[in-house]
Symmetry: C2
Subunit: 201 residues, 2 copies
């Protein structure tokens, strides 16, 4: 762009803050809205302002919500005795879409990383432990990511849970369904072998 | 998403109107802004409203601008005697970035397509012809896309220009630089052979 200060150039630059959006995609987005969908652009703008101002963390599980408690925490039909600990709101969506969990969640909004200054308090772990002690939770499923930091976060949480008669589990990491062994990376295969389970007779 | 009417679900849906953005990318965008860059989100929102309301077509070349005349049309250093006709503002950016043209532009904002109801008046072709007749233009370069509709648009414009002593050219279509012949598609190769030029001795 010739004029770096033009409204168009500024809009293209603003689009580039979005993840996965480079110069070309940002241009396409700006021109698409300006040429074909100004109404959609205005709507997107209004929703953005509204969301940036009104979406906060759920007072119970720390997931994102515009209310005090998120939809899942306010849902009385869900099983209060199992708690799934995840790193981010997208993980909640992924697990919800799989339809395989009917309990409640706790969203850490990150993972332990002393180098980046992310400590247990930033992830709300003290509150999580309090919640576990105060409520009638029978099983805690730790679903942090299979990375060094995700593993460390998982170990830390497991160590902090001192309550008795509680099952602490971690979701299974291994070969994905439909995955051909020869294309699976070494770390995943190694995890799959470590995590092998006896076949019931 | 469980609740289709939540602000978050609406924001994700609004992002999906952008070209190349599906459900997953829209989720990533929404969560990225909410978790890491609310300030950027608010800024993007303000720029979007501003752009949707204030960016219009240049009164001279129909390119997008927030002023009456765009930067290129207002630039007195550019060559008024050559006019490059393109389909869209992104084409102007592409040609400007190539640094190979110093004249003025005319942006059609589309191409002739009777099936979709796009006629010459929609593309501002009558005004373009008036401009060519009224001004001291020595060469018109038609840079519409090498598609059936782009070709038709090019032929139509060429036929409409009745002024004498004017060069009408079309940009060259052929094998791209660095392209291996064996990977070039048939239509491009056919164009490249049709458009062959004698090598000067």
């Amino acid at each position: 762009m010739k004029n770096e200060n033009s409204l168009l150039a500024q809009l293209i630059k603003a689009f580039k803050i979005l993840p996965g959006v480079g110069e070309k995609s940002a241009q396409r987005m700006a021109f698409y809205l300006l040429e074909n969908n100004r109404e959609g652009g205005t709507k997107l703008s209004k929703l953005l302002t509204n969301a940036m101002e009104n979406i906060r963390n759920c007072a119970s599980c720390r997931n994102l919500t515009e209310d005090i408690y998120c939809d899942i925490c306010s849902d009385t039909k869900r099983d209060n005795s199992t708690l799934c600990i995840v790193e981010s709101p997208t993980d909640v969506i992924a697990i919800e879409n799989s339809g395989s969990f009917k309990g409640k969640y706790y969203v850490l909004m990150g993972r332990l990383s002393p180098i980046d200054g992310v400590n247990p308090a930033d992830l709300g772990i003290p509150k999580l432990i309090e919640d576990i002690n105060a409520n009638d939770i029978k099983e805690v499923i730790i679903a942090t990511s299979p990375t060094i930091e995700g593993d460390a976060t998982s170990f830390y949480i497991k160590d902090q849970i001192t309550k008795e008669n509680i099952i602490i589990s971690r979701i299974a990491y291994g070969v994905p369904m439909g995955g051909e062994l020869e294309y699976v990376d070494n770390t995943t295969l190694s995890r799959a072998i470590q995590g092998r389970r006896e076949i019931e007779k």
